[in-house]
């Protein structure tokens, strides 16, 4: 019975394999015009070696972007097995800075790579068999997903959402899986070619005066360098003077810290100056309500922590306020083993509330900040009170905090 089944499956696989590899009738030769003609692309710079070298660089860079992007996604939507530490305080600043900088530096590399294989788009016959058709479809998926990632990322850091008819974060996330999956498949399919191209020396066939392989790789490298230097100042502050294309300046904005969402945009302008403002802290033992004077009377602490945005910029601030763990104690929970659900005065919005996991509640650097740089928080920075915790994306540093629900973790 089992043997019959195995034989049947093997037969099915054989038949499927031969079906996939059955040659399809070639299209009429009269259709072979324009770029489809033999020798339509004249550049002798193209070679499997050039493509493999660019492809290897792209594979490394895409992996870096995928891993750092996945980290950012998991911090914001943590699966049960995932825990992100609260130290080192600058870890997320680095991972997300690298994510954006690598993605931008990828632009010339991807461009050169796609140029190097462009004639293959016009290979003749367009499809030899079903297996060939599937392979070509997977390449289309790879190219489309790679372009999707770079272009949507560039639009996002420039905050231009109109050309993207979808929610950026979700589209960028699923397209990342498509890109990395198609990339793995592509490497698997092309592995023999890549291995030969990278191990066997290939002479540069470019004639005198033309751009050589080394010249093209060098130019792509210089382009990546120029892009990095002119944008990375948004998070590497010493580069700011040369970063003429940085979407942010680490020191621009009220109280020398940039703003993503203003109080006006959040619709909280009136609510935050309401004299009846109270920070409500319901916990397992009791429910505490604190006015501004009550908060100011609690022990104040000062920390130097960055706001690290998912868009790749970051800025260090000096924050003063009440430790979250002190508030947790007031609400009657163990500060070493509690979780806090922090809500904003905002009525709606994707980021109006966030869960602070135990590692960050425990950390004495995690504050409900009342002051920035010694002054009361600017309304756009979350007046009257905001969350600031080490090693967390900016979107999870809730502003205009109105309520903190404390839950015991165990």
């Amino acid at each position: 019975m089992v043997r019959d089944l195995a034989a049947g499956l093997a037969g099915l696989a054989r038949r499927g394999h031969s079906w996939l590899n059955t040659p399809l009738p070639p299209p009429p030769a009269t259709l072979r015009r324009g770029p489809l003609r033999r020798g339509a692309f004249e550049s002798r710079l193209r070679s499997p070696r050039l493509t493999s070298l660019l492809g290897s660089a792209l594979a490394v860079a895409f992996t870096v972007c995928f891993v750092t992007g996945l980290i950012s996604h998991f911090i914001q939507h943590p699966p049960s097995w995932f825990a992100w530490p609260s130290r080192p305080v600058n870890l997320y600043r680095v991972t997300q800075g690298v994510h954006v900088a690598t993605g931008l530096a990828l632009v010339p590399l991807l461009g050169a790579k796609l140029w190097s294989v462009y004639p293959r788009l016009f290979g003749w016959p367009p499809v030899r068999n079903l297996a060939h058709m599937i392979e070509r479809a997977s390449i289309a998926a790879l190219v489309a997903a790679a372009l999707f990632q770079l272009i949507s990322g560039i639009l996002n850091i420039a905050r231009w959402y109109t050309p993207m008819p979808f929610f950026f974060t979700a589209g960028h996330y699923w397209s990342a899986w498509l890109a990395i999956g198609a990339l793995l498949t592509h490497i698997g399919v092309k592995l023999p070619i890549i291995r030969t191209a990278l191990t066997r020396p290939t002479p540069d066939r470019v004639t005198d005066g033309g751009l050589s392989r080394r010249g093209l790789l060098g130019a792509a490298g210089v382009a990546a360098g120029v892009i990095t230097l002119t944008t990375a100042g948004q998070t590497v502050a010493p580069l700011a003077p040369v970063s003429v294309l940085a979407p942010r300046r680490p020191r621009s904005g009220p109280q020398n810290v940039p703003v993503n969402k203003t109080a006006g945009a959040a619709g909280v302008r009136n609510a935050l100056f309401d004299p009846a403002y109270r920070l409500t802290v319901p916990g397992p033992a009791r429910r505490v309500r604190l006015g501004l004077t009550d908060l100011a009377a609690l022990p104040q602490h000062t920390v130097v922590l960055p706001i690290s945005c998912v868009e790749g910029w970051s800025s260090t601030g000096t924050w003063t306020g009440v430790r979250l763990r002190d508030l947790v104690v007031l609400a009657g929970a163990d500060p070493d083993d509690a979780e806090a659900y922090v809500e904003s005065l905002e009525a709606r919005g994707r980021y109006r509330a966030t869960t602070v996991p135990p590692a960050h509640v425990r950390d004495p650097y995690t504050l409900i900040a009342l002051r920035l740089g010694g002054e009361p928080l600017h309304p756009d920075h979350g007046y009257p009170a905001r969350l600031i915790a080490p090693n967390r994306p900016g979107v999870l540093q809730t502003k205009w905090v109105s309520r903190i629900t404390v839950r015991s973790n165990s």
């Binding site: 008819p165 979808f166 792509a220 294309l245």
Partner: protein
């Protein structure tokens, strides 16, 4: 190698399947993402790359052979920087109540980078011309 290839292809197919199922079940994605996916592919393969290859052919025709490499390299760098800069220069993401967003004059910044690229290119061309002079007679213009 056969096992490695099969493992890579298998893992890749799993990744792509996860992407498709994930996107289909995520209410935040909608059909717009598919539209954008196809749009960027067409914009690149049917518009941008043919233009780039066309400009390359024009250089082949009108620029002296000895300067092809330098001009092509400079154009490559110019194009890559432009792609990153265009959304910033257009500045559609600006918000009236938030001056910390896109705080710079990106048009001027881009022109500065262009200047740097092309001045360096001209310098490199001059240095090469100097090196070539003793070897052969000055080329006719």
């Amino acid at each position: 190698m056969r096992t490695v290839r099969r493992a890579l292809i298998g893992a890749g197919v799993l990744g792509m399947t996860y992407a498709v199922i994930g996107a289909l079940t995520d209410p935040d994605v909608k059909g717009g993402a598919l539209l954008f996916l196809i749009g960027v592919l067409i914009a690149h393969d049917a518009i941008l790359l043919p233009l780039v290859i066309g400009v390359g052919a024009l250089i082949g025709r009108f620029v002296p052979l000895r300067r092809h490499a330098l001009i092509r390299a400079a154009l490559l760098i110019t194009l890559a920087v432009t792609i990153v800069a265009v959304p910033l220069v257009l500045g559609r993401g600006r918000a009236a109540d938030n001056p910390s967003l896109l705080p710079l004059n990106y048009g001027r910044g881009l022109l500065e980078i262009y200047g740097l690229i092309w001045v360096s290119t001209a310098l490199a061309a001059a240095v090469r011309a100097r090196k070539e002079r003793p070897a052969r007679a000055p080329a006719p213009p």
